[in-house]
Amino acid sequence: MSIILPRRRFLSLAAAGAGSLLLGGCDELSQNDGVTAVLESAEELTMRAQRAILSDRSLAREFTEADLSPVFRSNGTSMPDGEAYAALLESKFKTWKLEIGGLVATPLSLSLADIKALPSRTQITRHDCVEGWSAIGKWTGVPLAVVLRKAGVAPNARYVVFNCADDLEQSLDGTGRYYESIDLVDAFHPQTLLAYQLNGTDLPVENGAPLRLRVERQLGYKQAKYIMGISLVDSFTALGSGKGGFWEDRGYEWYAGI
């Protein structure tokens, strides 16, 4: 057999080789910092494009009672570990206080009764998980804007950070603790709620009792559950691994509009 391959046979072999190289190479590319940095640049483009077409007043669709999911799926943590949360649950959250601090004029400490006494909003909206499923639920809560105005947002504040009670990952250094952040555009959106009711009853534990976030124009992992404290910051790089949230620290987009 000649070692000089006919041109066409050579080209076929080259094509087959390139194909298998491509398949094997994709996993290496996915772990290459330069490649992932380029891929991640699409997030900013997506956010700028979506923010350009969304007005501050564009509302997520609100459905009717007839559209409710028969079962609203619980995802992530369904029961936070630890004695602190167990004690809160035991007291039926009477000992729970929402601490609002950071870059605010007046730090607040609100009980569940205080929060329920504030103006409320009820909305039937669709919850979209990053995995692909959706569930429709009826949420009642106080618009985040009401609480933020009460506390007085400092001029240099840019993000609202939600500190949660649940550890979604076991860790010794606290990096497994759930947290989330949104910017002021979403924080002051009329459908952005601190919700304490789902489908007309107190928020069940598996859905984030006593209080969870609803930020309806983004995906499910932004809707922080088991909120213990809210902090206004000018940057979230010092928190967790610096990406602005539990899942963001694990590679997911901070802007989860798609």
Partner: protein
Amino acid sequence: MTSLAEIPDRAPSRTRRHLVYRHGVATRLTHWMNVLCLAVLLMSGLQIFNAHPELYWGQFGADSDHSVLAIHATENGDTLAGTTRIGPLVLPTTGVLGASKVDGDLVERAFPAWITLPGYQDLATGRRWHFFFAWLFVINGLAYLLYGIISGHFRRDLVPDRDQLAPRHVLQEIRDHARLRFPKGEEAKRYNTLQKVAYLGVIVVLLPLMVLTGLTMSPAMDSAFPWLLDVFGGRQSARTIHFITASLLVAFVIVHIAMVLLSGVWNNLRSMVTGRYAITPEGPAA
């Protein structure tokens, strides 16, 4: 950009095999960019699908709701069995769908590692690939549409000519395709009717449908354009249509590659690289 026009002086004879300039540079560049984008979008899309391998119809859909398609693994003794359920129909798909091998071991995953990007299970990275290439795909597609309209490429090369729409002509083409007899001579200088309809179907129907159903899965896009939900009947319907349309594109690509192979692979490849396509004269002597 005179595609399908003859190159002067290089086709001296109608009786000899000669080259014509078939594909303009814009067509060729956008074609190959599209190949790259669709390959990455398909593979990363299957990675994303694997995160929740069920499809629903309507506004909502999660585990306890009725699904129209589900790809899962079930325990079968001390091994796994992969099943694919389409409506009421349950198919055993062990080895490919539901359960497939990773490093020699059968594991639960809807689509197998060799067709997802990345190969290992990683939704976050799959999404990064998907949205970066979705942007590239849209920009590339818009550039192609703009070129196609302005240059007259669509009107001249893709819209079927009047004579090509005669039922007799179409029937003859179907017979010729079935016998793998491809046009020669003058007739080979234009796309045949089936080709034009297939290309237009992809360009005008399937690819825009991919983009629109993709956007309908975005909660932000649904807030900006609530009509998307009415057009597709909900986010979960849009997700199902996205999957079906992707499957139709895969079917198109399979037929497309088969036709490229059957009707002269080197001639077709050269024409999509250099633009030049060889015309074989008609007649038994050729």
